[in-house]
Amino acid sequence: MKIKTSIFAFFALFLLNSSSNAQTIDEIVAKHTEAMGGKDNLEKLKTVYLESEIDFGGMKIPVKMWRIDKKAMKVEFEVQGMKGTSVIMDTSGWVFMPFQGQTKPEPMTKEDVKMAKSELDLSGELVEYAAKGNKLELIGKDEYEGSEVYKIQVVDKEGNISTDFVDANSYYVIKKESKRKVQDKEITNTSVMGDFKKLENGLVMPHSIDAGMGGSLIVKKYEINPKIDTAIFEMPKN
């Protein structure tokens, strides 16, 4: 008799355990928010400046980034003294890539700006998703590179679709797939995030980002809420 109860207890425990694995979107988002440093800290996040480097077989390309939450982002990188720049703002953007002969900055198309706008969300599209107008759907539990992940489909206010892979242990977004429509064709951009570090103010940010360009972006310096002169986002006149 006793043995039966212990078996029962064992299975009950097992069942309990397995049922607690089924999580809702909101539970996952809450754990993700906590993992990234908590709602309070994320709310205080207004600007970011970071310096990083991409290493192509020993050739190091410095990349700088300035971001103002929901307003603007500038990325600047340097190859052999030539600077490439791209800027996205709420309704406009511009790009200057002199490497292939471009002579002056050119404005981005409205479509490009629309597609890149999620980059302006510093706390990420999961945190406070409803308030931001993002729609989330839990596709299910899956495996990414041997680790268990929750796959969450995000449709943002602009209608952009992406999939976040939330690590089921750490609740960090370790991979993001974004669908982009270029002319008539759909392409998928993938970013893999790693080296999550806690910063001084309690926020946790990835320090390595691999966007499938052949090298990882390694963050060397992360400044939270620095003063950023908005003039740097303006498109140069010449």
Binding site: F56, G57, Q80, D142
Partner: protein, 1044 residues
């Protein structure tokens, strides 16, 4: 109490096995297979559907290759069903919500080699993610139709199990998008639904054809009392059997179509004693027989597709053995003219673009074709690698070749690596028919042995394609030889001259098949009841050697002893000889004691590489309806057997392979996956890195030199898992560590052996080559989410050569080093990119240190690079190359320094100019600035900024020589060496010019700045050499370069 102890032990055991093994599928990490194709021919295609309002989106279902999607009308495809069952029966797009599509697994072309499914699946995001929605035990799904007025209302035609009775067949309906199912039409345990159609204008009208069918290992029956045609007019609630005008007697398989634009008009092929084409113009109530060609009526169990044009009710298409077209509603048919070239026979699927009904896609036994002229001519889509191999073999060439035979697509070979990757053009056809075993003669590189179905085997000269039939015939007075569909044709692991084949007897040849000596009596059960294949087929006789039975199927000579040969038969016998065939021992009775059903087809035998008493065998009982995985092992010459089991296993077992170096490493290929054990069979894991998780794994071989695992799949072509030696080193002590760095095997230093092929094939499929770089392999117990992972390569003195960002995945990670150090600094500030700045010098062969950094932890290792002994240049040549590269490297860095000095002066001058007040002074500063700009203009291109501009200055000239010298492994040419001298001369001149200007202006400008009360120019390296720039030889030093 006893029970409590028992329970405790049970728990302890299970805990122990958990802790013992961190080994699981994810452990294998980056050990990924290469899918090398081919797609030059296809595999059997079973389903095609396209998006009606965006016909560029197309889904293809394969008999053994899963589901493929094209978003560009077939120009390219991607596989979207890799995690699920690969046998596809039906695909249907929800045309109202075209991102939603349903896939029924389990093909319904019920041939001998058909596989089986495990249910119905749905995706709501265009195939990116899938959910299984039931019908798990159906095994075969023929068709899915969606109610156009209510897309959650779906009907499924389930023929059900082929090899056994089953209640899970008939017509199934869901009203809630697959959450729940109702069986709405059922006849009996032998009869399923072969086809269902719906009136698109009135979804309450349904017609279903019910089919009684059954396969046994030795016969097929199509047709019976259960078959019939049924109609419902209330959405499937009530059905009536249709009889008016139908053929007399029992019916077999019925394929039907309704004209979408005139839904009263139906057409059907009805299998009966007299199979025929039937037409109805009252929505199936009554039928009339039409005359028809052979192609229209042929093989109704296998060719079950008939299609009416979406717009024009009189246009009817019959994809069958060939492609027949009717313009008059099926009264008469003509064959496609095929002016576009050969089209593979045996057609099973057709999708017509409703926006342009001349445009259609056809699925055949040999892949997908597209037509723009309503089926008269066809273009092959050559980028879907769903070829169905039965077996695979390799030779010993470098790179080695893979060989194999395919379902209905002949015999082929291809190199395991090729310039530009393994493209369609790399595949060489060796023979026709259905291909099975292809064995290269290791003692004669021109010769291969191969076969087509029914034991028709040949010795073929690869050079000219000449083939000699080497099939043995019956001896005088001997009974008929029984040849298998997939006849054994195997070689000895020890003696390259030995070739075996088998009917009910085993044969051996030592002279390339010229003589086959019979070395056994009938080793099968010779059960006459299982030898009536001439009567096979049911209503339509169908006897293609596919049902031949009581035959030796598996033949394996021991790698330890040429005289020890094991055989297994398709009717369950296991026998061996220890004297090369003089005497045979039958151990058949013993394996059933281990729980393996008696009489089970022996699908493979593996005598151990380490112990003559040990033998492994796979047993395939699926032809009796039992899909369980049976893997047996005997350690006493077959006297007793152990059934090796695992909760991971699924699908019937096709092949067991023991590694030849690590006796505890075994691979098991089943109909639904590839599994590996590293502990002799206690723990198994599914292999899935770039290996479809339910891949029909039919055969495998480990290459004796490269240690590559080469896999034959029945639907995904050939896969190669390069160098599995890392797996041999994976043991508990490694798996228990948080981080482990594996020893890196010595690597030949090469810029690559497969560099030709810069001009790629248009379209087609390209399989990857092996990576020819040193692999730094490490194990991480868990994914590293915090902390950087990097691999540092140092020379033997500890100087850092390169730091490589590492991957962070759980399990095995691989990082590749390009065998170069960092590229040189080049002058910056030009108007274009200098490619010399992207190339690092190639290191010399030798020993290197490896340091793996994971967060704060470091693990040390080493690696060795070797000079290629086959290279056409010596080690000394390579050293000269290195010295020259480094000389150019230094020149580049020096030129960069010179440029920095110049630019630094210039930027200071620009700053000062704004503050200098006196106009005369300003002029001096401007003069200095301009002179320096002239110097800068000599250093690098500063004017043209188009990539097509060819402004070349010192940087570009130097970069060009540097990149060409650094890009090769050979000694620099004389022109290159001369060029270095002249560049030195030119650089020297420019440097002198810079220095002269500094001499002339630096102090002068500083005097001015003093007067202007401005800070003076910062000293530059150029000033220190400003006065004297004569060399020791007494001439301007740049002339020195001319003297050495």
């Amino acid at each position: 109490m006893k029970q409590a102890i028992y329970l405790f032990c049970l728990l302890a055991i299970s805990y122990n096995s958990f802790s013992q093994n961190n080994f699981n599928s994810s452990t294998l990490g980056s050990i990924q297979a290469r899918q090398i194709g081919p797609a030059v021919m296809g595999g059997r295609i079973t389903a095609i559907d396209g998006v009606n309002n965006n016909p560029r989106i197309l889904y293809i279902g394969a008999a053994g290759g899963g589901v493929w999607k094209s978003s560009n009308a077939g120009a390219s495809f991607s596989s979207i069903f890799d995690k699920y069952c690969q046998s596809i029966g039906a695909i249907t797009i929800d045309q109202k919500r075209p991102d939603t599509l349903w896939v029924g697994t389990g093909e319904s072309n019920m041939r001998n080699t058909v596989s089986y499914g495990n249910g119905i699946y749905r995706s709501t995001n265009g195939g990116a993610d899938w959910k299984k929605l039931g019908l798990d035990s159906s095994e075969h799904i023929a068709k899915i139709i969606i109610n156009p007025n209510n897309p959650d209302n779906v009907f499924v035609a389930v023929p059900g199990k082929l090899w056994s009775d089953s209640k899970e067949r008939g017509v199934y309906e869901t009203k809630d998008g697959g959450k729940t199912w109702n069986k709405i039409l059922y006849v009996n345990e032998m009869t399923g639904c072969a086809d269902i159609i719906m009136d698109p204008t009135n979804p309450n009208v349904l017609l279903a054809s019910m089919w009684e069918f059954r396969r046994k290992p030795y016969e097929f029956n199509s047709g019976g009392k259960g078959s019939g045609l049924f109609k419902s007019t209330d959405g499937g609630k009530n059905w009536k059997k249709i009889t008016t005008g139908l053929p007399e007697g029992d019916l077999g398989r019925i394929a039907m179509a309704m004209a979408p634009s005139a839904p009263n008009n139906l057409i059907a092929i009805m299998e009966a004693k007299k199979t025929g084409l039937y037409i109805s113009d009252d929505q199936g109530e009554t039928w009339k027989k039409q005359s028809a060609t052979l192609n229209v009526e042929a093989r109704p169990f296998y060719f079950s597709t008939i299609v009416i044009d979406p717009k024009e009710p009189k246009r009817v298409y019959r994809p069958a053995f060939m492609f027949s077209i009717s313009d008059d509603g099926g009264y008469s048919f003509t064959e496609a003219n095929n002016s576009g070239g050969w089209v593979h026979s045996d057609h099973h699927a057709l999708w017509i673009n409703p926006q342009n009904t001349n445009h259609m896609y056809l699925g055949t036994d040999g892949g997908v074709y597209v037509s723009m002229d309503r089926g008269n001519s066809w273009i092959f889509l050559n980028s879907i690698p769903v070829s169905q191999f039965y077996h695979v073999a390799v030779d010993h060439q470098e790179p080695y070749n893979v060989y194999g035979g395919l379902q209905d697509n002949g015999s082929w070979m291809a190199p395991s690596n090729s310039s530009g990757g393994i493209e369609n053009r790399d595949w060489q056809n060796l023979f026709g028919g259905d291909g099975f075993w292809v064995q290269p003669d290791l003692s004669d590189p021109d010769i291969v042995y191969l076969e087509y179905q029914g034991g028709n085997m040949f010795r073929v000269n690869k050079k000219n394609g000449h083939g000699v039939s080497i099939k043995p015939y019956p001896e005088v007075g001997q009974e008929k030889l029984r040849w298998h569909w997939n006849t054994a044709l195997v070689t000895s692991p020890k003696n390259p001259k030995t070739l075996y084949t088998a009917s009910q007897f085993l044969y051996k040849s030592s002279n390339q098949g010229q003589t086959f000596q019979r070395i056994s009596p009938d080793l099968t059960t010779n059960d006459k009841n299982k030898q009536k294949q001439e009567e096979s087929g049911g209503l339509s006789t169908d006897n293609t050697s596919a049902e031949n039975h009581c035959i030796i199927y598996a033949v394996a000579e021991s790698p330890l002893d040429e005289n020890l040969i094991w055989i297994g038969t398709d009717d369950g016998n296991v026998q061996y000889t220890v004297d090369g065939g003089k005497n045979w021992t039958n151990v058949t009775a013993n394996y059933s004691k281990a729980g393996i059903p008696a009489g089970t087809w022996v699908s493979s035998i593996q005598p151990s590489n380490f112990d003559k008493n040990v033998v492994y065998a796979t047993f395939d009982n699926h032809t009796y309806g039992d899909m369980k995985t049976y893997l047996g092992k005997s350690t006493d010459m077959g006297k007793t057997w152990q059934l090796i089991t695992s909760s991971e296993f699924r699908g019937h077992a096709n092949k067991v392979l023991e590694d030849f170096k690590n006796k505890d490493m075994l691979f098991l290929g089943t109909e639904m996956g590839l599994f590996v054990t590293l502990d002799g069979g206690k723990k198994w894991v599914l292999m899935k890195n770039n290996i479809p998780e339910y891949m029909m794994t039919r055969d495998m071989v480990i290459h004796p030199k490269t240690n590559d695992l080469v896999i034959a799949s029945h639907g995904r072509g050939v896969l190669i898992l390069d160098n599995i030696s890392i797996l041999r080193d994976l043991n508990t002590s490694v798996l228990d560590k948080d981080i482990y760095l594996f020893a890196t095997k010595p690597t030949i230093l090469t810029t690559g052996n497969y560099n030709l092929g810069g001009f790629p094939e248009g379209g087609g499929y390209t399989g990857n080559n092996v990576v020819e770089l040193p692999e730094i392999t490490y194990y991480l117990k868990d994914r590293v989410n915090s902390g950087e992972v990097k691999v540092e390569i140092l020379d033997k003195d500890g100087k850092l050569i390169q730091s490589i960002p590492g991957t962070k995945r759980k399990g095995i990670n691989k990082v590749y080093w390009n065998m170069r150090s960092a590229p040189p600094k080049v002058p910056t500030g030009g108007t274009k990119i200098d490619f010399g700045g992207f190339t690092g010098p190639l290191v010399l062969p030798g020993e290197f240190k490896v340091v793996l950094n994971v967060g704060d932890k470091k693990v040390d290792g080493s690696l060795e690079l070797l000079h290629d002994p086959n290279a056409k240049y010596s080690k000394a040549d390579r050293e000269t190359q290195y010295i020259t590269t480094m000389e150019l490297f230094k020149m580049s860095e020096n030129l960069a320094d010179l440029n920095d000095q110049v630019v630094s002066q210039q930027s200071q001058l620009k700053e000062k100019l704004a503050n200098v007040k006196n106009e005369k002074n300003k002029k001096v500063l401007q003069e200095y600035l301009d002179e320096l700009e002239k110097v800068r203009g000599e250093i690098l291109a500063t004017k043209q900024n188009s990539i097509f501009a060819d402004e070349e200055r010192l940087r570009e000239q130097l970069g060009e020589v540097y990149a060409t010298v650094a890009g090769t492994e050979e000694k620099p040419t004389n022109s290159q060496t001369e060029r270095i001298k002249s560049l030195k001369f030119d650089i020297g001149k420019t440097e002198t010019k810079a220095k002269d200007n500094v001499s002339k202006y630096f102090n002068k400008v500083n005097d001015i700045l003093k007067k202007e009360k401005l800070e003076s120019l910062k000293p530059t390296n150029l000033t220190t050499m400003g006065k004297s720039h004569k060399s020791k030889r007494g001439c301007p030093y740049y002339l020195d370069s001319l003297f050495f």
